[in-house]
Point group: C2
Chain length 287, copies 2
């Protein structure tokens, strides 16, 4: 699911740290495709990815190919804080995790029986699936150019703004069911699955390849910055005009606290909480 939040943070609170905390909770929930509950590669293994970005400073951190780290988002945050780099992948990311002493666990911890079944079904159907696509849907078979097709998306993300207009975003995922070993998706790519600047914070979900091609999260911000669109119009344009139907959704928040959560998939788990206690949770499109 994707979560937008407008927390009332104490002065000097780091909003990107709060975003990471939200995502960590979702990683630990085995019902979502991130951390424990990540979907499996074609080899039956887990390769997790995560990314975090602070809009104010444009500091960011990302990891891919993580196999034993309990919370990939925490490791992404450490890459941001403790290295001269933005992005570490695979064995190098795992070695860095050990060097930093983050919590690791046997990789079997992340693998749920549900995902073993999903991989089996995907292999039988011989396709690469987005997250939690129910296999053998009629609509999937009609979408010839989108392996895996439409779905309820399980990647987890959070966007947040504080009372000073500081923005941050964090995203974490297990990727696609039956993905090739080594496949890198949109989540860890700044400007594709994850982006924040002084205009907005954005986290995307869906078919990573479509999101990379359309630089979805950067385009939402660029349409505000370069074309003067509102957050809502920028996000709607990006989802409706720049990505194929059935491939993308996002959650975004602007510096003034506007929230939008458009998607062109069948449904998208999403939630929004504001400082005045208003909470909104949804999966399917609004009627």
């Amino acid at each position: 699911p994707l979560r937008g939040s407008l927390p009332l943070l104490p002065v000097n609170a780091q909003i990107e740290r709060e975003s990471a905390r939200e995502v960590r909770e979702l990683e630990n929930n085995p019902n979502f495709n991130a951390g424990r509950g990540s979907v499996l590669t074609s080899n039956g293994t887990v390769e997790m990815e995560a990314c975090i970005m602070d809009g104010n400073t444009k500091k960011c951190g990302a990891v891919s190919g993580v196999t034993t780290v309990v919370n990939a988002i925490s490791l992404a945050r450490l890459v941001m804080e403790k290295t001269p780099h933005i992005y570490l992948g695979f064995d190098g990311a795992e070695a860095f995790a050990r060097e930093q002493g983050v919590e690791t666990i046997e990789t079997s911890h992340f693998i749920t029986p549900e995902n073993v079944d999903r991989l089996k079904q995907a292999k039988e159907a011989n396709r690469v699936q987005i997250d939690y696509t129910p296999p053998f849907q009629k609509e999937v078979k009609e979408e010839t150019d989108i392996p895996g097709g439409d779905s309820q998306i399980g990647t987890v993300g959070c966007v947040a703004v504080d009372c000073h207009g500081n923005l941050a975003t964090a995203t974490s995922t297990g990727g696609l069911v039956n993905k090739m070993v080594g496949r890198i998706g949109d989540t860890p790519i700044i400007g594709a699955g994850t982006y924040a600047n002084s205009f907005c914070a954005v986290s995307a979900t869906g078919k990573g390849e479509s999101i990379i091609r359309a630089t979805v999260t950067r385009d939402v911000a660029a349409l505000m910055e370069y074309k003067g669109l509102s957050l809502k119009d920028a996000a709607a344009y990006t989802i409706e005009e720049c990505t194929p139907r059935g491939t993308a959704g996002l959650i975004a928040v602007s510096a003034t606290g506007e929230v939008t959560m458009p998607f062109n998939t069948t449904g998208m788990f999403r939630a929004c909480a504001t400082e005045d206690g208003h909470t909104e949770v949804a999966i399917w499109p609004y009627a």
Copy 2:
């Protein structure tokens, strides 16, 4: 070096294939930081990255963490052509290379004595260097926020346009001297080091972290698409206003054949060839 070219291609020629051919030549030249001649990680190993994108179809392919593939750009092109994915990294990319039967060689082939020296000097100076920075330059020590600082950049790239206005780009690199094992830079990131659409084709070089943060190549295209700037103005704005001094350069070509090659580093190897036989080669800024 970065090469802009306006070849007179036969009808139905694939312009992205031509871009890959140019980059392959540069990868094979040990004087450049890509393929043979790639700079070394902190462990003394080579981890190469490459990316290709076709502007017309927005098809793209990328690889990271390649250690034995003679031409990483060819592997990136195969990821684009033969998989449902865009981007493969590390062991998965190497396994795919073997499955596809591309030319591989012992990793020692890529390591030159010059790069062994560069790593030694970087370790003595305890810093991460961009490509071919001469170590211990006075100007480097003055740049507190840019590890490695200014340099002549060795990443190789090509942008191309054909007589129909079809655009393509290809980039290949060994990354930064003394980079952490597993570090992913801007080159394989669509919208950071490499991007093409129907407006322009762009390939960037420099300190990858700055280029990722500023989504340099997508921003050049977005400024044309969303703000109506010319290629030259879009590229100048991106290099001058969006990236710190001493960290970035790019080469770009528009659908109408306009070429621009701005940089905010000390120098940038660059060349341009047009179909009428005009050739231009330069390293330092124009007087």
